[in-house]
Symmetry: C2
DNA sequence: ACTCAGCTTGACGTTAACGTCAACGTTAAA
DNA sequence: TTTAACGTTGACGTTAACGTCAAGCTGAGT
């Protein structure tokens, strides 16, 4: 046996894509992908000039797009990726970023509440619309939509105000 | 009793704010608030030229900012608000928008999964950082961070790939 | 009468995340 | 060899959501 312990699986048989296929895979444009590379978020290998994307880059782009969907900027994402891929060695910097990450995690949990509330509100809105569409199945415009909305959101409103610390601030002249 | 059935509570004693106080209340700038008004998302009353914001506008801005936090554009928000406040009367338009709202609700639920995954990943990242900071409490840089990350994300990776429909698409020449 | 705080309406500047060209190189098939 | 498909690097354009002035009104206090 020729000496080849812990052989790197960097072999040929790993999946890989050209930029167009890779872009199609995630429903983004090649331009966007090049842009992410410029920002240092992707580092595809090259074959005679052309970019070649493998599983590693697939994983990265998956995470990039997930974070983007949640409203993070590419700079935000880079702050995380640089740590993830070991580009940050300074202990102080590392500690600061970890603290930041914990704040992000906290804000993510708040975001979940936002989602719950918005999803519920939009569900109610759909119901109200359905009611309205049913009542006025012919073409008489008897019931004003505004009334129904008003009821629902008034109720809402008091809910929100109760646990809203803002509400003890300032009044007006 | 003077005739006054179902009296409107449009009275004086409702809370109200000037633009600066109102902005402070939500930690945004007066400019942003004027911008939202230009876009038709807020319609404060006026007192000798100056804007006056009441409970109604408070509720609206609450919802505007919540939607913004979730990545919706102001135009997106207006599409919902216009329905909510009865500005859309056309049945066809109304039906289309309701269908759209249901898609939004569905995508909100997908967003929750994004949050769960990202929060978990960032939690793991924090743990890894802590481990690293502990091991190298002096200043010897024995363990490479990259190794630890690699393990965690490789695992991840296979998880994701399993339920990823994308993964049966295209290969490469 | 003057000043000042707080508001108003333009109007132009800025940033992020690409879109959209133009001009050019490379490989494989006809 | 020519063409076609696919890639490359600039470089400039675009949109959303404001920021940042400038110039002017307005009502309360001195």
């Amino acid at each position: 046996m020729t000496a080849n312990p812990t052989a790197l699986k960097k072999a040929q048989n790993e999946q890989s894509w050209g930029i167009q296929d890779f872009a199609d895979l995630f429903e983004v444009t090649p331009r966007a992908i090049r842009f992410y590379e410029d920002k240092g978020l992707l580092t595809p290998s090259r074959e005679s000039g052309s970019r070649v994307f493998g599983l590693e880059e697939h994983g990265r782009l998956t995470r990039i797009l997930r974070a983007k969907r949640l409203g993070f900027t590419l700079d935000d994402i880079k702050v995380v990726m640089d740590v993830t891929y070991g580009l940050i060695t300074d202990r102080v910097e590392l500690t600061q970023r970890r603290d930041n990450f914990e704040k992000v995690i906290a804000s993510l949990k708040r975001r979940r509440k936002d989602i719950d509330i918005l999803a519920r509100e939009m569900g109610e809105l759909c119901s109200i619309i359905d009611d309205h569409l049913e009542k006025t199945a012919d073409d008489s415009n008897v019931s004003s939509l505004a009334e129904a909305y008003d009821e629902v959101f008034r109720e809402h409103f008091s809910h929100e105000m109760l646990d809203d610390p803002l509400f003890t601030n300032s009044k007006r002249s």
